[in-house]
Amino acid sequence: MAVIETTNLSRVYGMGEISVRALDGVNLSIERGEFVAVMGPSGSGKSTLMNILGCLDRPTEGRYILDSLDVSEMNRAQLAQIRNERIGFIFQSYNLLKKASALKNVMAPLLYDRKNNRTHEEKIAKAQKVLIAVGLEDRMEHEPTELSGGQQQRVAVARALVNDPAFILADEPTGNLDSQSGEEIMELMHELHQGGRTIVMVTHDALIAEHTERTIYLRDGRIERITKTGSGQAVKEGASESI
């Protein structure tokens, strides 16, 4: 079953003659458990597509069905709830809360959770569990400035996972990392994929895209082509522990 289903998705900035069609009729379907890369040169509509898929923005035209919910016409508060419950963001620059510990950062999405009535202690326990799963059991009380880039991105991954989202939306997750940390993060992505997670990763790096099963190429706001890629074979044996 498709987690993401878009029909004729368009996004127009501005009005009248100076309007720009950043996305122009994108039809896209991403199945549950898929690991997909979105590639394209700058100005191709990559960011616009990511913003719409991430429910940070709404399409001007077309439909976006997320997890069998039509989110195209939702208001800001409803979109916020969708982001909270169904989308896990991983950003290039980590985007952690500066003055909060790793634990508090991972707990943050739980604070905005309107569905589960967890107590403060339950929230702590849940966040700890995810932090342990990404290998940060001894870094929970550290603030971002006390962590390496790779560790910060692991905190971000834990934060993306804590509300058990429908899919993970990663925007150049290795872009700010040295090659060693970058590989570790990609390994973590593979583990998540193996664990059954749906991942959409925006990148301009063809080598990184190789890690995924499918790559969607955008150009001038349209899908140029979709290719089968490496299908995540780089995963190590036994690393597929479910997170």
């Binding site: 940070l56 909270n84 003055k99 999405p109 905005y112």
Partner: protein, 409 residues
Amino acid sequence: MSLSEFIRLAWESISGNKLRSLLTMLGIIIGVASVIIMIGISAGTEAAIEEQITGLGSNLVFVTQNFSRGGADRFRQGGGLVYDDASAIADNVNGVVAVVVEQPSTESVRTGNVVLDGVVIQGSTADFPSVRDIEIDRGRYFTEQEVDRTQKVAVLGSSLAEELFGEATPIGQTVTVDNIKLTVIGVFEERGLVSGTDFDAQLYTPITVVFQKFTPSQFARFRGDRVRAIIVEVEGPEVVDGTIQQIELLLARRHDVTLDAADFGVTTQQDIIQTQEATTAAFRNLLAWVAGVSLIVGGIGIMNIMLVTVSERTREIGIRQSIGAAPNDIRWQFLTEAVVLSLAGGVIGVLVGVGGSILFGALSDMRTVVVTGSIVLAFTSAAVVGIFFGFYPANQASQLDPIEALRHE
């Protein structure tokens, strides 16, 4: 997100930037403290005034001259209060305990080589100390017989006695008032300033002496000596109203005037207290407004800092939005922060205000009273100020576009 989580979040942010938070709260602290101190001072003043007026003696009715309605004509025709009115009241009105007549004159007083100008010579009658509630310290007050016989005796207020005689004993000494020699027979205890009159600086002598020597009048031969005031002590508060009516009717008949055109006025201590209270209430309101303005200034300070905070923390707002914070969550976060900030300022302000009131009362002559209502008022205003001035920045924050906010450096 629950309220306790918002408060926790607000507290983390406030305590994460202590100096700035303290400076932001300063306006509120000063505002709240000044509300409490200002109200404390005026309430203290009010209490002191009331105590003083009650200290004039209890259950008193004051009969004074009033030419405002009769006009100056009536004065020339010989209207106004006269000495005989006092005995008429004593004889004809029910519920009267004592009647005292007062007729002052201002003269220079001399003894040895001390000369004091502008001393109030208070002519009165024998019941003056008991009605005016003032104690004799040394010697005695003059008697009814001495008043009747126009005896040239004097009783001194405590500070007057000290100025005239210093450490020496005044009793038995002679003072010269406008060439009239009076023998000092007593000195009053210290009484202080009561409702604008300094009882300690006056010289007291039989009213007949004042009539004869200091305020002689040709008119006195026809209708009697004019007096400034007649003070009537009544049995108790419950008879005051009845007594006033009787006095008014009696005097109107004696003076041959209608009540509407009376050449005298009758007031009670209660009237005087109410007049004074009206004055201090106006004073208190003024102070409260001044303090209120400083609270508003404090609120503007909070708004200013909250706007800076929102723009500094745009990235944080974007992050929170991306992980699921709705506009309302962001609005509440910053509103809670502003309110916690002003309430914390309010708590400190209350402590400073209460401490300041007590200290001010201890260090100055003024009396201060910490009014519980003022604490509630000041604290509530601080909260209202926080909500009012916190709303705009919080609303700004909630309207930020998540994509823009995430891009913000």
